[in-house]
Symmetry: C2
Subunit: 315 residues, 2 copies
């Protein structure tokens, strides 16, 4: 039903703004590009906008250079992908300024506020890429470029089918996308294997800070000094927390990241039984049961002490 | 046709030896267990044998404790899984001593010597687990335990659908196995995320040895001393070579592992254009175009010098 309304909207309109959230990941970039390519194939005028830097590892995606960082014109329709609420794309004056008729909201977050005029929200979908697969294939044949974008969406949001959102349905979509030309090996090498030499240096230095508390809590930290010495950027810290969680016997992995003298970002991951969302919420953060985070207004040493005490109590 | 002969053989016989290769991986262990479980469900007497230690990370697999390290009795039929030739299971006096009637060879290696009385060899299959899925599902309903074993087989041999052997067919098999009860998240955490604290120490120390040659070759080494200081074992060296290959701009990743004063194992990985199989063959080793290895009778320093010179010439 929603799809039908969406298809009608596509048919009846000519110009589209397609956007997604700041700090974009594989799902937001892959789905913005897949839908952009699809609407272009249908002869529409489309501008894809993500108001933030695209991580280098996604530079291989077809059409990625066409993504703009800002928008000036007005369009008939704005389509917002992978955003739980209307603020996530980071348009300072709001999205409404940039479209004349309708706002479409396509997402898979449980917490979605249904902010669109049309809302296609499926929290059972692994990713927006999975939702778009079904939408696009009813509009036109999926070609290799679109398949590669959607494949990238799904494997990044499922962590290469390692996360609990991996379903038979999403595995069958991946199978179809490989049939349409997506290359699992090529895409995975780009998305998962490539690491800058600076990121590797940062990992090495960060592993030096490993501390095990009560056999169950593994913590790591990254100082501003380490970031600077390694020439590392935000993207280079990706995934380091999993080294803490992955240690045999450990229940909670935690990563402290010094932002400045009085601010520390904390990431939490748990394996089996500790609800780290509750812990993050205690400090004004949030997230999921097994993955959450918060920001403390404290120095690094104080933050580590405070959080480790709280985590010990949670065991 | 081969399947039909195999099914008849199962029907007509009672006792089975099921085995696979030494230094077992997820595919060998998963497929031995899946077929053992299936034949047990059919009321057969089955002994699974792998003549080597089972890596701890596979301890979660159903029935893993029933795998024996040696065999004394004779059985009607021996089934050899994931072995390119008859020597791979490591039975010193040969396999034939332990069965009365037939040897079945089920494998997916291109180089398979077709050593069995019945040979089911499909080099297009991602893994033996994928082949067994089609064999088992025609004999009995696949339950959660069998599904978990087969799922483990396929994701380990495809590197969680990252390798080039990932096909639409194997993705659809994975989808079916999840439907039968295999848990992608649980299994992936066990197989890919868990790492001993000693393995993490080894990784940290090994990253200290990183050397980039001509911008294209990234090399790492592990000494006996590092292994001892970290309390690390062979299993703990798994996957470290990928950190070298994964560095942006690098074509060849190489890992040197000192075995003793005059012996060094060398692993090669390449990304796009260097045939590292040819390089390994120069030194009496072998493997695949993008992944190979050899053993040198030389000290660590000499080995590094020799190999880096050879690699530079290959660029």
């Amino acid at each position: 039903m929603m799809y039908k309304i969406f298809y009608d909207l596509i048919k009846r309109n000519y110009s589209f703004l397609i956007t997604s959230h700041i700090m974009p990941d594989g799902d937001s970039i892959g789905s913005v590009l897949a839908l952009t390519l699809a609407l272009c194939r249908l002869g529409k005028s489309v501008v894809p906008v993500i108001k933030d830097d695209i991580p280098k590892k996604y530079a291989f995606l077809p059409g990625v250079n066409k993504i703009k960082k800002s928008v000036s014109n007005q369009y008939d329709v704005a389509i917002c992908l992978d955003c739980g609420d209307e603020e996530r794309p980071g348009f300072e004056e709001g999205l409404r300024k940039y479209y004349l008729k309708s706002l479409v909201n396509i997402d898979h977050h449980k917490s979605n506020t249904l902010f669109g005029d049309i809302n296609i929200v499926d929290s059972n979908a692994s990713s927006v890429g999975e939702i778009l697969y079904f939408i696009i294939k009813d509009m036109l044949p999926i070609d290799e470029d679109i398949a590669s974008c959607l494949y990238t969406s799904i494997i990044t949001d499922t962590g290469s089918i390692r996360h609990s959102n991996t379903t038979p349905k999403c595995l069958r979509v991946l199978a179809d996308l490989v049939e349409k030309g997506a290359s699992p090996n090529f895409i995975s090498q780009k998305v998962f294997e490539k690491r800058s030499i600076n990121a590797l240096k940062l990992l090495r230095n960060c592993l030096d800070t490993l501390k095990i508390t009560d056999d169950k809590i593994a913590s790591l930290y990254i100082t501003r000094d380490m970031m600077e010495k390694c020439g590392a950027n935000e993207e280079d810290t990706d995934g380091i927390i999993n080294y803490a969680r992955g240690i045999e016997g450990v229940e909670i992995g935690v990563l402290f990241r010094e932002i400045d003298e009085r601010q520390v970002k904390v990431g939490f991951r748990s394996n089996d039984y500790v609800d780290v969302c509750k812990i993050a919420e205690k400090f004004g953060g949030g997230g999921h049961i097994r993955a959450s985070g918060c920001t403390l207004e404290n120095d690094l040493e104080g933050s580590i002490k405070l959080i480790l005490e709280t985590l010990r109590e949670s065991l």
